[in-house]
Amino acid sequence: MDGGAQGDLFDLVHDSVFVRGLDGAILSWNAASADLYGWPREAALGRNAHELLGAGHEQSVAELEARLLADGRWEGELARQAANGSVLVVEARWSLRRGPDGAPAAILESGRDITARRAAEAALRRSEYRYRNLFQAMAASFWELDFSPVGGMLRELRKAGVADFGVHLAANPELTREMMRQTRVIDVNEQSVALFGERADLLNASVEPFWPEASTAVFGASVAAAASRAPSYASETRLKRLDGSEFDALFTACFPPEAVGKGTLLIGVIDISERVQAQARLQRLQTEFAHAARVSMLGELTASIAHEVNQPLAAIATNGSAGLRWLARPEPDLDEVKALTGRIVADAQRAADIIARVRGMAMRHEPEMSSLDLNDVVVEALAFLRHELQGLGVETEAVLSASLPAVRADRTLLQQVLVNLLVNAAQAMGGMEGGRKIAVRTSHDARGVEVTVRDTGPGVAPEDRGRLFDSFFSTKASGMGMGLAICRSILETHGGAISAIDPPDAAGGACFVFNLPAAEDVAHTKV
């Protein structure tokens, strides 16, 4: 038997190699076999290979060996058992050895352990399966995109000296559109079909048709985010269906390094049109409520407003009469007439200003954000209520910070908040014997701009403080209970807040404080 010499040679081979007779008895057994199966050569030689190692396969050993006899060789995967009982997946190659007479004599089997490889493949398959399931099952629309041509375009830009892709793409929308055309759809889930249109029309298309012109900047920003190695990007935007209709969407893109390395990326689209519409409806409702509250407040202030307008009108009439008298003299005094006429012009302007203020409060308009100095709003609100407060015997004091940062807000709405707080304060002091005073103070700190309105009235009962800003809560007999609720809604719309606090000293009275973010902070949060 030449098993020993062959054994020496085969011992140099990394793969397991053994020879068995046609009866299955092991005739030779190399060192790698001993390593793989855990049986030393002495223990393996003479044993039936299939009994010792098992031969797990769809087909029986007899069938496999019949094929071997017919073809002279066979290869395939076998489940073999090691001495320690563990099951190995072995990639096996059988070849038939013939005797000098040409008749089959023995079978040589070389085997390689692919257990780990198979396990990894199975894990990968499971992972892919899970991913596919997720991809399909998620309630969001998912897209797998081939992004690789865009990667090339970005490298070209980098070579050409473009340092900031965000700025460059924002300035070159046509380049961004070209990147869309170069980005192709690899796969989409069922949600995408439901949201955008037929699968066949989505697959292999470019993503360009799904992006309205107005949303180009969002795509550009997501490309810039991917290029800057950000892990992800998200933005609200509008996207287009295959039928051309547009909808509000939350667009998210994920840039895991392995996917970016392959030139693919995964994006998600959530249809938020209902939410956006609900928000718009809520916004309209708030606008209408605020307007209704202003109009009802104006109703309460009618007498004051009429007086405010009457005052300059009375002055105009009186000045005019005086002028006529100066002119009617035997020697008309033109200097007097000139002075009187100047005052008439000024008084007419004053009347026009009052009417403009009232009209501003009476008109219904969508909130218009502009950069405002809250000190101006305080002064205007006090001017608006000058006569009302005076009629109620209320003294006012305004301590205005000289270095107030601007806020971004709607002027009329903030005036409404202040007028509301001032009227509340004045009415709360209605039953008092003098000593009626309202102090308005503006200040600012790191959080933004703050306005405090404080009166010398009876104050807010501690048990009312929590409900004060609820709708339909009022301590006034004739109060609708909408004023403070609307104040709060207005401030929240502006990113601010309002609360009733204890007066800074123990002097009593009610103290309301509201704050708004400074304009530059607002700009930061928007970016």
Binding site: H307, P312, A314, T318, N319, G323, R325, E336, R343
Partner: protein, 123 residues
């Protein structure tokens, strides 16, 4: 305009209306004194020599009605013409009860004020 012309004091917190009334009274040839509040008027020595005072009723601090009451208390008999933008009957009643010479509602016509002044000065 000589010192013999009647002296009229005007008390009105609204500056433009105060200036307007002063202008009108001056156009009639009278001398004028002007005050932004009842307190200022009452504190001014020269105002006591006025032949007549035209005052707003609704002012911060002392009102026009209280002004008249203080003059009465001090034994000063000068006629007081009151002006108001208020339409409530109660205000009118209180004004007349305090002894207002006449009461004008804003916006008043120049002729109405002139007629009042003429009567007050003739009294």
């Amino acid at each position: 305009m000589s010192a013999s012309e009647p002296l009229i004091s005007i008390v009105e917190d609204d500056e433009s209306l105060r200036l307007a009334v002063v202008g009108l009274v001056r156009s009639l040839g009278y001398r004028t004194l002007a005050y932004g509040s009842a307190e200022d008027f009452l504190a001014a020595e020269e105002a006591r020599t006025s032949n007549c005072v035209v005052t707003d009723i609704q002012m911060p601090g002392i009102s026009g009605i209280e002004l008249k009451q203080k003059l009465v208390a001090d034994g000063v008999a000068m006629p007081v013409i009151m002006v108001t933008a208020r339409t409530e009957p109660a205000v009118h009643e209180r004004a007349m009860a305090s002894g207002a010479f006449c009461l004008l509602r804003k916006p008043f016509t120049a002729d109405a004020l002139i007629a009042c002044l003429d009567r007050a000065l003739a009294a």
